[in-house]
Amino acid sequence: MSYREHQAWLALGAIALTLGPYFVWVTLAAPEGPGPRLLALGLALGGEAILLGLALFWLQRRTSAEDRVRDERDREIERRATGAAFGTLMAGTILVGVVLPFDRQGWDLINPAVGAIGLAQVVQKAVALWLYRRGV
C-alpha cells in the first residue's frame, strides 16, 4: 500500500474516531443548551485535527522521502477525489444554507453543516482509495 493510501486510511480513521462518536452522541444523548454541545463539537473537531496530525507525523517518520514523492498518478487521483468531494460539499451547502434555514436554526443548522464537511472529507478519501485500487 502506498504512502498516499495510508494517508487516506488514517484520515478516515481520524474522522470515524472523532466525528462518528460526536454524531452518535448528538443523535442519542445530547442535552439541551449550548455549553455541552459546543464543548463536544470542539473536542470532536480538535480531536480530529490532533489525531490526524499525530498519525501523519508517525507515518512520515516511518516512510522514506522517496516513497512520499507525489507523482502524476497521485495528482490525477487527488484531482478526481477532490472533484467528488466538491460536489458533496456543494450539496451540503445548498441543504444547510438554502433549504434548512426556512424552518430550522441554531444547532439544527450547525450539525448538518459539520456533517456535510465531514461527509465531503469521507468522500474525498474514499474515492481516492477506490481509484488507487480500481485504477485511473
Binding site: S2, D71, E72, R73, D74, G135, V136
Partner: protein, 70 residues
C-alpha cells in the same frame, strides 16, 4: 483493455530492472509503475516517452492501442 504495454517484459530484458529503478529514472513512484504494468493507469504522454527513452526504443514498442470492440 484498449491500451497495452510491454513495460514488464522490457524491464526484464534490460537487466531485470526493478519497478523502483524505472520509476526513479522517470520521476514516477514504484506503485505507479506497477499500476501501468497492470493496466490500471494510463501514463501521460510525457511519462510514456520517458519510459520508451529508458528502454531505448520507440514509443510504439512499449505501448500499443487497439480500438475497443463495440
Amino acid at each position: 483493455m484498449a491500451l497495452q504495454n510491454r513495460v514488464r517484459a522490457l524491464r526484464f530484458e534490460h537487466g531485470e530492472m526493478t519497478q523502483a529503478d524505472l520509476g526513479r529514472r522517470i520521476g514516477l513512484t514504484r506503485q505507479t509503475i506497477a499500476a501501468i504494468e497492470a493496466g490500471r493507469y494510463s501514463p501521460s504522454l510525457e511519462a510514456a516517452f520517458r519510459i520508451a527513452e529508458v528502454f531505448g526504443c520507440p514509443l510504439t514498442e512499449v505501448f500499443s492501442w487497439t480500438r475497443d470492440a463495440g
